[in-house]
């Protein structure tokens, strides 16, 4: 469980995180989305005490991260792939971190195995690819068997097998009742992994809801219909608020009526439909719609600042 209240981070005059409130609950995967520079990494750094909030507070499992007596058991974190000395072996790197909590070599070997790094554990980290660095970072996050896991862009540089591994791992950690916070720019991956989404832009929360609700709130769902009597159907369903457009493949796309409403209307008019389907928006569309608004907000803000001067 992660709880942020009126959390603010300012660097000089630049506001990176602008008084946000959110909570990340156990038992589900929460996706953390936002454009570059939106404040995602800063927020994650504040959660684990690397950066100090300018105002407000953020707590992990009921208290500020720094106050935990066994922080690695509370939170496992991957912020930066390859945040390890190039000259140290992966095994010694993990062992040095584990030692701070008295976690033994046995657990170190366990997470090395989990992350699929057995064959390179004795090799120096400098020779690792980005994907291997990510695996090492995830192994580090799992060391303390934590109740909360925070991963910043964990699938960057991973091969398809690795991407799938991360997805399965996140799902199973959430299924065990852990809190999982995950950031990624890969929308299709996020759509498959996350239960909830927190979307952040320019330091503010743009959406915080179940993934389905975020998508339906930010996109319009349409009804896709195929029939030989296109023109008669269009005349039948014509009404204020109903928008119909003809698609290149001969199907029509209807906004403002559900699939059921279209089917009922067609049946009453004796029109045979070959295909009726509800098409909902994608996460990518929702994300673009949500964050595009934020870009507009930013430019008008700049104009305002100029006017004041």
């Amino acid at each position: 469980m992660i709880t942020a209240e009126a959390l603010v981070k300012r660097y000089g005059t630049k506001v990176a995180v602008d008084s946000i409130d959110f909570s990340v609950r156990p038992g589900q995967v929460t996706g953390f989305l936002g454009p570059n520079g939106a404040g995602k990494s800063t927020t994650m750094r504040m959660i684990v005490g690397l950066d100090r909030p300018t105002a407000g507070r953020v707590e992990v499992n009921g208290r500020p991260y720094r106050e935990h007596r066994a922080p690695l058991r509370e939170v496992g974190v991957l912020l930066d792939a390859k945040a390890a000395h190039a000259g140290r072996s992966a095994y010694k790197h993990l062992l040095s971190i584990a030692a701070t909590h008295g976690i033994g070599a046995k657990r170190v070997r366990e997470v090395i195995g989990l992350a699929g790094l057995d064959s390179v554990a004795g090799k120096r980290v400098g020779g690792f690819s980005l994907g291997m660095g990510q695996r090492l970072g995830i192994a580090t996050a799992l060391l303390g068997d934590p109740a909360t896991i925070i991963l910043d862009e964990p699938v960057n540089g991973l091969d398809p097998e690795g991407v799938r591994w991360v997805r399965t791992l996140m799902r199973s950690l959430a299924a065990e009742g852990r809190t999982v916070l995950l950031s990624s720019h890969l929308m299709s991956e996020m759509a498959q992994t996350a239960d909830r989404l927190i979307v952040i832009g320019r330091g503010r929360i743009l959406a915080d809801d179940a993934i389905g609700d975020v998508i339906s709130g930010a996109t319009r769902s349409t009804t896709r219909v195929r029939t030989r009597e296109t023109e008669r159907l269009m005349a039948t369903i014509a009404a204020p608020g109903v928008v119909v457009s003809l698609l290149a493949d001969g199907a029509i796309e209807i906004t403002g009526l559900t699939a059921e409403q279209v089917a009922v209307a067609a049946s009453a008019a004796g029109i045979v439909l070959h295909e009726v389907a509800s098409v909902s928006g994608s996460l990518e569309e929702a994300y673009i719609a949500l964050t595009a608004g934020e870009v507009e907000y930013r430019s008008s803000n700049i104009v305002q600042e100029g006017a004041v001067r």
């Binding site: 690397l50 922080p71 040095s96 909590h101 008295g102």
Partner: protein
Amino acid sequence: MSTLETRHTDVAPDHDRLSFGRVMRSEFIKITSLRSTVGLLLAIVALGMGTSVILGLTIKDAGLPSAASVGFMLDQVTIGTVLFGQLIAGVLGVLVISAEYSSGTIQTTLIAVPSRLAVLFAKAIVLFLSVAAAASVALFGSWAVTYPMLAAYGLEIGLTEPGVVLALVGGAVYVGFAAVLGLGIGTLLRAVAAGVATVISVILLLPIILSVIPASDVVRSIHLLSMSKAGDALTNTADGTAFVDLADGYVSPAAGLLIAAVWALAFLVIGAVRLRKKDA
């Protein structure tokens, strides 16, 4: 991915929590698992003993003293370890913290140990002990290898002579403090190159600059209180008179210990303030 695989199997949750001893253990693993840091520790031993061997071999050309003296023996034995050792130790001190910043390891470190002062003090203690141990090997090793060389001229001095062991241990402690000085500077500056340049300036350049400036009482006093002068004092025997005598230019071993400790701890505290206040 079964549930069991990610669960902790060997240790009960209550047992794996932070403690200062464990943080020191972590720092010990770090310092012994890099070629660069191990190499620098070995270099203290190699350069310290190597210098003593060369001095021992050329002892006759340098001019033999008329009689055996503790002071003459200590000069032969300690100069390499103190002169080179203090610089290597300073560089090592800078490296153990600034390399964490350049590699990004500092993030991982501070996530595991959110108490930043605990990290810094654990580093300082482990560094001091490792470096002082390496310097002890160098100093006692130097004494041992030069013993027969000095004996050839009847100039040998045993470890049982008053002040000898104290001076050798003092030299090791001094080199350890030089490492802590470097750690403080590295924590303050966070960059390898700037840290190394600064630590060399403080240890080596300061006395040189002072010797160029026309000697006034103030300059002489600063010179006596410099880090490297403390090294000289610690590796000599006490003459039993004053603690520090500004007029005579004399600094006792005890005063040397105090001066070296103040230099090292002052920089460590400045580094600690920066580490605590700033975002990582």
